[in-house]
């Protein structure tokens, strides 16, 4: 959150047309509290400097003062459009340190819920991206679909935006009765909605001319600037953590990694739209794989016991008491666990000193890194294209500022 603009080169123009304007942080198209300092030459952007930190809440500091399991609720609040992905990165890093084996059913549910969350996150992106460019109707249709997923997440975890559904060693609880039927209803209806979006947006000439050739970033630049997720795949690099470093059994699912070579806003748009269909495929496969079974690992010192067991077994009661009051210890060591969040590589670096609280938790937010490449994409474009580029990056300031 720096207020001083670093020195920039003033281009010697006959008419001194350059001016600096501040864009945001209260601008609706900045998707939160992003501020840009833009040096304009007429309508052309000479420099665009992102200024972040308005939503900084010291989450990485807070982790160090909370027990391992209490950290899960903090992760919900980082990328609030993809909370289940954040949960997964955090708990999987801890499980890596603990060496826990997660039951099959819990893994399948994790995959299914994460893909549903990805669809919900992309729905917000689609609605707001189109809204920024001027297509208002899409927003309502996209949020209608997102609402269905929010209801599903609420049904299984009790929370809509902050589910904290994934716990160390498995899940908070098993899926409620009739959940499979509700997911089936959603997956049956969603392809039709997806076709609607293509009719509304993809075929729209205004949308195409606003996005094609805008916000160009070459393949080399994209890798050099550390772009991940749909932004990188829009620049023609087939990198997806689900493919390159599979976790929770993604290698056993049949899905494609969409890649576009346009390197512009339109390419990033098409990658996400095609990704929606792939996510739906994964949800359907996961649904077919659901078999009854335990959803918590067999680790009584780490995983909370069932309520019934606490009423009948003394040791279950003792374990419950100890986990709640003292927490559980995690072996000393450090891990970096990347997963594919809806916006790109979501990595969680955890260092443990063997105690009941982490020594250091660092979250590599994909939005943070993707936003750092904004100046490269925005320079030389028109000022009206900045909102299109920000929309195509799909940033969430909660994750950038942490």
């Amino acid at each position: 959150m720096s207020t001083t603009l670093p020195p920039y080169e003033v281009i010697d123009q006959p008419l001194d047309t350059q001016m600096t304007i501040s864009f945001g942080p209260q601008h609706p198209s900045t998707h939160g509290v992003l501020r840009l300092e833009m040096v304009l030459d007429g309508e052309m952007i000479v420099r665009a400097i992102p200024d972040i930190g308005y939503l900084h809440t010291g989450m990485e500091k807070l982790f160090e003062y909370k027990k391992w399991q209490q950290g899960i609720v903090i992760t919900d609040r980082m990328d609030y459009l993809n909370p289940l992905g954040n949960n997964l990165a955090y708990v999987m890093a801890i499980e890596k340190l603990l060496g826990l084996e997660i039951p099959e059913r819990a893994q399948v549910i994790r995959v299914m819920m994460c893909e549903l969350q990805r669809i919900a996150s992309h729905m917000v992106w689609l609605g707001t991206h189109a809204l920024d460019i001027g297509a208002m109707t899409v927003f309502f249709y996209a949020f209608r679909e997102r609402e269905k997923i929010m209801n599903l997440i609420e049904a299984c975890s009790g929370g809509r935006l902050t589910p904290s559904y994934f716990r160390v060693g498995g899940l908070m609880m098993d899926l409620p009765a009739g959940f499979e039927r509700r997911v089936k209803q959603f997956t049956d209806a969603f392809p039709k909605a997806l076709d609607e979006f293509h009719t509304l947006v993809s075929g729209n000439t205004i949308f195409q001319s606003r996005t094609k050739g805008v916000g160009y970033i070459s393949t080399e630049d994209a890798i050099d600037w550390g772009l991940t997720g749909p932004c990188l795949r829009g620049s023609g690099v087939k990198i997806d953590v689900r493919l390159t470093n599979p976790y929770t059994g993604y290698e056993t699912y049949d899905f494609e990694i969409p890649v576009e070579t346009g390197c512009d806003v339109w390419a990033r748009y098409m990658v996400r739209m095609r990704e929606l269909r792939e996510s739906l495929k994964i949800v359907e496969q996961a649904l077919a794989r659901l078999r009854p079974g335990p959803v918590k690992a067999d680790a009584p010192k780490v995983v909370l016991p069932e309520r019934e067991a606490m009423k009948t077994h003394m040791d279950a009661l003792i374990h419950h008491f100890l986990i709640i009051t003292e927490g559980f210890n995690v072996p000393a060591g450090e891990v970096y666990h990347p997963i594919e969040g809806s916006k790109g590589e979501l990595g969680c670096y955890i260092k443990s000193d063997g105690g009941a609280k982490p020594a250091r938790v660092h979250v590599r937010g994909p939005s943070f890194v993707n936003l750092s490449a904004l100046p490269i994409m925005a320079e030389g474009e028109m000022v009206a294209d900045v909102v299109a580029i920000i929309g195509s990056l799909d940033i969430v300031l909660g994750e950038i500022d942490r």
């Binding site: 720096s2 470093n245 970096y336 990595g347």
Partner: protein
């Protein structure tokens, strides 16, 4: 009886598994390549939880990074993450800087680590190797006060310019020194 016959088999398996330490005998291609290029670059190799950590002396970090970026067979062309760690004010060396590398061709990952003393918390920047290091290094400077020498724009990034102290240091109190006002 069945148990008795199974038990020796178990203990044998453990006995054979135990003496093979995790990859210290056969170092990974990364470590081998680093040592072949310059033996001074590697002070320690830690293999744990399926991840390789190489501790690099701080004066060699930029050279090691730029070697790894283009080394044939390794091609760590992306810096996935860079983060600082404070081990606590009583530890020496106090700070760590972790570089998480990723190869978009080989899909491999590795971690380089630099250890820094508190009174001389300076390390050469890697923005000349990967541009993405820019914001990561600014964040690490902001939170830990680690100076990245040669960084083009080393300003605070998340906290305001006039913030005192470095918030993620262990001796910085959770709720700050005094209530902060933006006005």
């Amino acid at each position: 009886m069945a148990n008795e016959t199974e038990r020796p088999a178990d203990s044998e398996a453990q006995a054979t598994a135990a003496p093979t330490p995790s990859n210290t005998v056969t170092p990974s291609p990364l470590v081998a390549a680093l040592q072949r290029q310059n033996p001074d670059w590697v002070t320690e190799v830690i293999e744990a939880f399926g991840e390789t950590t190489v501790i690099v002396p701080r004066e060699h970090i930029r050279a090691a990074c730029s070697f790894l970026k283009s080394a044939p067979g390794l091609e760590f062309n992306m810096l996935a993450d860079l983060c600082g760690v404070d081990r606590g004010p009583e530890e020496e060396p106090r700070f760590e800087v972790n570089y998480h590398l990723f190869s978009t061709n080989k899909y491999t990952r590795a971690r380089l680590k630099v250890l820094l003393n508190e009174d001389d918390a300076k390390v050469e920047t890697v923005t000349t190797v990967w541009k993405t290091a820019n914001w990561h290094e600014r964040e690490t400077f902001d939170m830990f006060g680690i100076i990245f020498e040669g960084h083009p724009d080393l300003r605070r990034i998340l906290l305001p310019d006039d913030w005192e102290g470095h918030a993620l240091r262990k001796d910085f109190p959770l709720r700050g020194y005094e209530p902060y006002s933006l006005t």
